[in-house]
């Protein structure tokens, strides 16, 4: 062993001990004849003192930043202690040292505030990983991993490995495929998730399964998406939705406790998908703050049980609201004091292409109870008061109103709400709020193909009370214009998403476990019997031999870590991430391969054009 102790370990109680340390040179400082070196390793930093006897040796072999050094010596008490670091009361009086390896000058500084840009840090990822900020992220990731495994183990879950070279059954996202040399012209696929395997394990009686496992999706990468990502993947048999919710909210609370030392004692809130969409404009609401959306006007939509407040805005001759498909408002607390300039900026903000609205109306609800609005030409004070009241505004608030096509307006209002929450400091980084979103629609309507699409995935069960509706009705949509009146439109999924601070961190469902129902699902998705058998014959077969009721969940491990670490970017929590073009710039991968390899695999690269 090149060391007797780590650089984070020595304390005053060890003064007088002879020790050997090894690590990287963080800094070299010379005071008179004495040289001080901060030596760094994974565990901390220890100050080394080279007295003047070493000056010749140090002149001949000067120490540079990031040199790898082994130093023997005696632990002594420091005269000027450094309370900022755990080893700050001691230093090592060096008696001998060896340069284990030299270092060129790094292309950026290995410090919390590095001078390196994104690209250079990715190319030299092995140096970026030395920075404390990145190291803390990977340590957090490992702590989450460990905590999850411990909890799942204690609850009788078994880690069972599922295969990576599987069958391509593209459904939703694209598969990455792997040409088979031994079966030429045929391909494996890399799993988008171990979904069908974990279900088979339930059929096999394994009862409680988990895996922390890599998954693959060949999607066009948006910012902060990775072609390979990690899931905490779980499945249980003989359970209902309530059992899963209890088991896995406790898992997340355990992770809070183990990793963040937070006692999350509150009950986890629950909300239907319809309420989430209606009140927050999206299916992963950030409930750290209120500011709910008030729908003043909506078309006939999938929100079957919701009523708008159209009477509040109708018949006023305001052509913008009259012509709009929908109109929505939020009441911003304390917003009555917004300046003209602030309102102009907000108007510009909603007109940005990412938001895409035409303008922003407002009603200022002053502290004195008076109202001032951009639309008071059309609405008298009483009517404005009515709108303000419906929006939940109090004196001192401002009501912001957006109008336009339903889906875009709901999304824009949701974004505006989040932006206002941010501006008002309501989205606190150290506050964590969990939420279950429940009762998703089982299907979405695919207009182009005039068929149903599984909102979650094709293995999700409808609510128990709606299984008969699904089995007894023809899944085909014969009247495209009125697809909302098809009996399938109202079927809710036995599915659940876990949301943390406005991010979906996990999702799952109770699964179909009856062959008849599964076949009906495949038919609803436009799959022929033949296609269903070709792709999922093994699963349909398994359902013939005593499949138990079961369900599960998968957590996005990268995302969960980034939220717990207080970062927007999952890349900061992955040791060797890919960039937005799916490239590993350090490896320079993907890359061309030898023609010989292609020939062996029985494939060729197509000519462009």
């Amino acid at each position: 062993m090149f060391r007797s102790h780590t650089c984070g370990e020595l304390r005053l109680t060890q003064a007088g001990s002879s020790v050997t340390l090894a690590g990287w040179v963080q800094t070299v400082r010379k005071f008179g004849a004495i040289t001080f070196v901060d030596l760094r390793d994974r565990y901390g930093i220890t100050q080394l003192v080279f007295n003047e006897g070493f000056n010749q040796q140090l002149d001949e072999n000067p120490l540079g930043r990031e040199f790898v050094l082994q130093a023997k010596g005696t632990v002594i008490e420091r005269s000027n202690k450094n309370p900022a670091i755990p080893t700050g009361e001691i230093e090592l009086e060096v008696s001998a040292f060896t340069i284990l390896n030299k270092s060129a000058v790094p292309p950026f500084t290995i410090q919390d505030d590095t001078d390196g840009g994104d690209d250079i840090r990715m190319k030299y990822r092995y140096l970026d990983l030395r920075r404390n900020a990145v190291k803390k992220n990977l340590e957090l990731r490992y702590a989450v991993n460990r905590s999850a495994r411990n909890y799942l183990h204690e609850n009788a879950f078994m880690d069972i490995e599922t295969p990576f070279l599987i069958k391509s059954t593209p459904e939703g996202a694209r598969d990455f495929v792997v040409p088979s040399r031994m079966n030429q012209g045929q391909f494996y696929a890399l799993p988008q998730s171990p979904q069908t395997f974990k279900q088979l394990l339930m059929v096999s009686g394994y009862d409680r399964y988990y895996q922390i496992v890599k998954c693959f999706r060949d999607e066009d990468l948006r910012a902060d998406r990775q072609p390979e990502f990690t899931q905490i993947d779980c499945e249980m048999a003989f359970v209902e939705q309530e059992d899963i919710l209890n088991m896995f909210e406790t898992l997340i609370k355990r992770i809070f406790k183990d990793v963040k030392h937070i006692d999350y004692t509150d009950a986890v809130e629950r909300m239907t998908w319809e309420d989430a969409m209606w009140q927050y404009g999206n299916d992963k609401p950030d409930i750290r703050f209120d500011m709910k959306i008030c729908t003043l006007k909506k078309p006939s939509t999938v929100y079957f049980n919701k009523q708008d407040h159209a009477t509040l805005i109708n018949d006023a001759g305001f052509v913008v609201f009259d012509a709009a498909e929908s109109v929505m408002a939020i009441a911003v607390p304390g917003g009555a004091t917004f300046t003209r300039k602030q309102l102009d900026e907000l108007t510009e903000w909603v007109k940005r292409p990412q938001i895409g609205m035409k303008g922003l109306a407002y009603i200022r609800y002053n502290e004195d109870g008076s109202l001032k609005s951009s639309i008071d030409k059309f609405y008298n004070e009483d009517r404005l008061k009515g709108i303000a009241a419906a929006s939940g505004a109090h004196p001192g608030d401002i009501v912001l109103i957006l109008a336009g096509a339903e889906e875009r307006t709901r999304k824009a209002t949701s974004e505006l709400r989040l932006e206002m929450g941010k501006q008002l400091g309501l989205r606190k980084e150290d506050e964590f709020k969990l939420l279950w979103v429940l009762d998703f629609p089982l299907f979405e309507y695919a207009e182009e193909e005039n068929r149903w699409v599984a909102r979650h995935h094709p293995f999700t069960s409808p609510k128990p009370s709606q299984i008969q509706t699904m089995i007894e009705n023809d899944p085909l949509i014969h009247d495209a214009a009125n697809y909302l009146s098809h009996p399938y439109a109202q079927i809710k999924a036995n599915a659940y998403d876990m949301v943390l601070n406005g991010n979906e961190i996990g999702g799952g469902s109770i699964r179909i476990f009856q062959r008849e129902l599964q076949e009906k699902m495949f038919a609803a998705l436009g799959m022929s019997e033949e296609e269903a058998l070709h792709k999922f014959g093994f699963l349909l077969g398994a359902f013939e031999y005593g499949a138990p009721p079961h369900g599960g969940i998968a957590f996005g491990f990268d995302r969960l870590c980034s939220i717990l670490g207080g970062s927007e970017s999952i890349r900061d929590f992955i040791a060797f991430p890919k960039n937005n073009s799916g490239r590993d710039v350090m490896l320079d991968a993907p890359s061309s391969i030898d023609e010989k390899q292609l020939v062996e695999l029985g494939i060729g690269v197509r000519d462009e054009g």
Copy 2:
């Protein structure tokens, strides 16, 4: 929850309790008006009793094998107890039941001794996984996983995930490749191991890394090899070989303790590669028994420090030995009593194509001290005694002698030794003997290309004392006939294999961490500077910035589990294995994919012929 208890949980102390169980019908037996059902789940079997009141219901809905059943009732004491199972003192008096799912008659019986052949069990793997024998294997696998993680965690190792979509750098085995849609004409490779990444993590200062991780090799599959397999992959910085040996023999001992409840208190034996080859004929000797090989004659070979006993057999006019490149013997304890028939069978055995010898000579060393030999025409009793003594034979033993080309003869003698060990019951299933094999040659000679090949891999360091030999000498072999006198031929690797009962369960090395030495290694392997930079530029670059001394090891997780489980086959320890053609017969993968997918990926399938 569909159950209050599992089928393995109830005991006599719970008699009188109302409980709900759920599981699979193992057997249905009717005694008069009473029906007994054995209900099975992952945890055990509980007997259910349906009294005559259920007869009508059971007639209308008969229970079949593998039906999924939920039963409510009262725990009662059994009159005829079954001491063979933990729940054998009680039974459940059923008050109500629900058939949760029916089952077709399974294609084979779900029992330890199943009537299903290999193929049918692989096709219906989800049913095979229900069998107790397979379940025990996966439970053992999880226990090994858990034990390894706990030990490594306690020793400050961090689980850090490395990427699966990497760069193709075929070196030894073939890579599986993944066409990139976003970078057309380019390919990722699936990792054969995380080797370079774990080394980069050491450069990054992570110091102690581990992962239990899937790896991929596109090799022609021999029996019991899988295209995807799992490694326990570890790396440490600031260590020497001795540190690694200590750390990881303790890991394996811990696994013995946790999983097999075996206190492995013996020191782990160590042997040089040269001794292993010389004494046992292979580099993974089974040291549960002795029966060492005696080399009577050898050509000038890589066993630089070994002497044969040629004087014992030379000048006897025995043309077979005289013409043979090498002659080797083993003394089989108690073998003097072998019958003529047994010796004929052994002769046939060594003549099988897999062994490939031309014949078998023997010297019977009778209990009374007399000798009888198949070659006593050429050797008098004194000479026979000399050969017997050199082979380590005692009265009562038999000496078996093989002659032929060196490599084949050594291998054949090794196989014969193992076969004799098996026949004599010396390879006990419940005895575990660990061994470190050390001091491998760093290089092997590739005759066709007249260059060196890395025996372990190109990142393995030579012994510290031989680094200068490697750096100072030209790696090119200018005199092919005398390659053994090239200075590189004698360089030993700083590498180690862990052997358990004749199986290599892990291997690793101290790594090169100096750019100059790594470049020399690449050159020795016939790589041009340009090629080395193209393939491994990131690693050579990393060595510029303060790479610490480091080393590691990887254990073959599948193999380790199979040995601990007492099985020859790793497939029995993999939930969803592939067959010898690399196919998953349950999924029917690999399979053809849509032309649309191929076009998107920019590749095509070559026409045959």
